[in-house]
Structure formats: C-alpha cells, structure tokens
Amino acid sequence: MASPTRPEPIPGTVIFDGEQAMKGYALNKMCYSFNEARNREAFLADEEAYCARYGLNDAQKAAIRNRNALELLAAGGNIYYLAKFVGMLGLNVQDIGAQQTGMTVEDFKAKLKAAGN
C-alpha cells in the first residue's frame, strides 16, 4: 500500500532514506574521506586496512573490492559519496552508468544521446 512514507517503489531506483543512511554510514563516511588527497593515497596504499579503519562490514568491503556500483548501493552507499570513490579510480558517471545497466560505455552514451530525439 502506497503512503507518504512508503510510496510505490520505482524500478531500478533505491531511495536513499534514513534506513539506507544508517546501513551505509561507515561506507559513506569512508568515501567522504576521499575528498582529501592524503586519504585517497592511504586507501590506494592499503585498501583492506583503510576499509577496516572505517568499520565497513563484509558486504561493504566486498563491494569496494569488486568496484561494483550496484553492490555498493545495496550496501547503503549514496551515489554522491560513491562518486568520490569511483572518481579516485578514474571512472566517471557514464562508466558507472554502463556498469549498472549492463551496457558498454558506448551504448550507454548512445542511449543518453537518443533521449534528446
């Protein structure tokens, strides 16, 4: 039953609400730390230790290890903080869009372009 607090789900979309924000707090806090270059360097030098320092759970650690955006979202990640993680890896939102939709980056870009027709 749809209500203001529990509206009908939107396919392929996770609403980042209080529940997700609690679930993903440690993961998002780690990703927020990547605003600073020295933290990016520390992560890249020893990923496992860095994840442990922020208290990530096993699912979050695995999602980070797999560089998998859908797993990161399912583990409570918020796209704006995850963008700092993937940005550090040299990926942009088209790369991530392609990964999440199972398309090649070229096909994903073509789909965006086609939306203008």
Partner: protein, 280 residues
C-alpha cells in the same frame, strides 16, 4: 530598497566544470550546451546585479550525513571550493555579503523557516559550475554571493511546495532590505537525470520541457508533485527541480522569459537554462 531583478537556472554537473577547465567551448559535444550561455551573460551585463543568491545542493563537500540541514544559508565574507575527490581545480574565493545573509536568516526564521546559518561554508560544484557559466570573468566580476544549500542527498527532501514557499519568503526578505541593491536568484541543478541504480541514464525530455514552460507561467502546478513523483518522472537526481522552485518562488507572480535553452545530453543530464526577468 533591495529588489529581485530576475532569476536564472542552470545545470551544475561537475563534467561542465571539467569542460570549462579544458576550454572545450568549441568541442562538438560541448558547443551546443555552451552556446546557450552568451545570451544569459548579455542579460547580466545589462542588468548588473549586485548580489547573486545561489540555490544549490552540496554533494558531500561541506556536509556529510552526520549533520544534514534541510536548508542552510551562508553568512560568510567569502566562500571557497575545495577538492571533491576527483580533481576539479580550486577557484578564487567568491565574495559574500554577510550583512544581507543575516538579514535573510533573521527574516526567514521570523517567517517560520528554520534555517541553518553557516559562518564557514565550502561551496562545491553545485555552486561553482553555474557561477563559472554566468560569470566566467573572475577579474571583472563584481557580484557578491549568498549560497543557499538544500538537502537533496538524504531523504526526506523538502517538498516542492515547501521549497516554493521558501522562495517566496526569500523574495519578501530581499524586498524588506533597506540597502539599494539589485539581486538575482540562481536556481541550479536539474533537469532530469539519474546516476544510480539499474535505471541510471534515465532522462525525460517531455517532462523537462513541460517544467521549463510551467516554471515560467504556472509554477504552482509543479508544486503539486511530491518528491517521489519527481524521482519517478525526472530520475533520482531530477528531484533537484526543487532548487528551481525556490528561485521561482523568490520572483513575483509575473515574470518575463528573456532566454531559454535546453540540451540533451550533458553527461547523464538534460540541461535546462532559463533567464527570467522579474516584473518591476
């Protein structure tokens, strides 16, 4: 007395900041987007506003999930950006207008909008990208800025109706300010886009174009949507339309459309640009 001379809207996505830094103005991908802006800058050259109130959302530079204000207003003498994690260049600080900021904060709280005031506030691409598009000449720029950050990161987000009312309250607050100032209000972000989930890449051109019409002539129609409606119709990040509604609320009932431009795609986004002149 201070007066709101007009409002503008612009996308604020970080890829635009990179394209500006790379001077890709004539690049075939970017040219159709950048070509919308000279007309907006010509209007600014004519009107010469003293202050820009910039409505944007922070994407995890100044605010984290530990403390997430729904509405936050800068009250600093200047605002700078910083490393957001992917190498956007630091820009010269933007001058503020703390006296007007505190007038806004006092007037809005008195008007029952409970504002988080920020004497220190880093501004991210949501603020700097539209500023760079509208005022590319940082040496000659004389406009002072007041950042207004709205939570679009963590639900619940403020409703479209609430945001429109906040804009109306900002309009009243500016008009009650004693100094003789020309103020422009910038609504950033949008239009349709979704970055996350299996629905990433969702763009809704028809909805965007409808919003660009309604925001001029019948903004109340857009306030009837819920946030969930906006996520469904415009994508998860398309809910940033609420930032445009704050801008529009600050203007009067009647506005004149000076300029309008829409382009798909910039990165994952339908990019809408409007210049609206407030009725005198």
């Amino acid at each position: 007395m201070a007066r709101i001379v007009g409002g503008m809207t612009s996308s604020h996505i970080p890829a635009i900041g990179n394209a500006i830094a790379g001077e890709l103005f004539e690049d075939p991908y970017w040219k159709p987007f950048f070509d919308g802006y000279p007309a907006a800058r010509a209007w600014l050259d004519k009107v010469r506003p003293d202050v820009a109130i910039v409505i944007y959302n922070d994407h995890g530079l100044n605010f984290f999930l530990d403390k997430m204000p729904t509405f936050a207003i800068g009250a600093a003498a200047s605002y700078r950006n910083d490393d957001e994690g992917w190498g956007l260049k630091p820009l010269p600080p933007y001058p503020g207008d703390p006296e007007l900021s505190w007038h806004l904060i006092n007037a809005l709280v008195n008007d029952e909008f409970d504002i988080c005031s920020c004497q220190e506030m880093l501004v991210d691409h949501g603020f700097t990208v539209p500023m760079s598009l509208f005022w590319p000449d940082r040496v000659g720029m004389t406009v002072r800025t007041i950042p207004v950050a709205v939570n679009t990161v963590q639900h619940p987000l403020p409703t479209p109706a609430r945001c429109f009312k906040l804009g109306q309250a900002i309009g009243r607050a500016v008009e009650s300010y004693g100094r003789d100032l020309k103020v422009v209000v910038v609504g950033t972000g949008g239009l349709s886009h979704q970055l996350d989930g299996q629905r990433a890449g969702f763009i809704n051109k028809d909805f965007d174009l409808m919003c660009m019409e309604k925001i001029v002539s019948d903004p109340e129609a857009l306030t009837r949507y819920s946030i969930h409606d906006l996520v469904r119709l415009a994508g998860a990040q398309g809910a940033e339309l609420i930032l445009w509604l704050i801008m529009r609320g600050a203007l009067g009932g009647t506005v004149t459309k000076v300029h309008s431009h829409y382009h798909i795609p910039i990165s994952n986004t339908g990019a809408g640009l409007l210049v609206l002149e407030n009725a005198a």
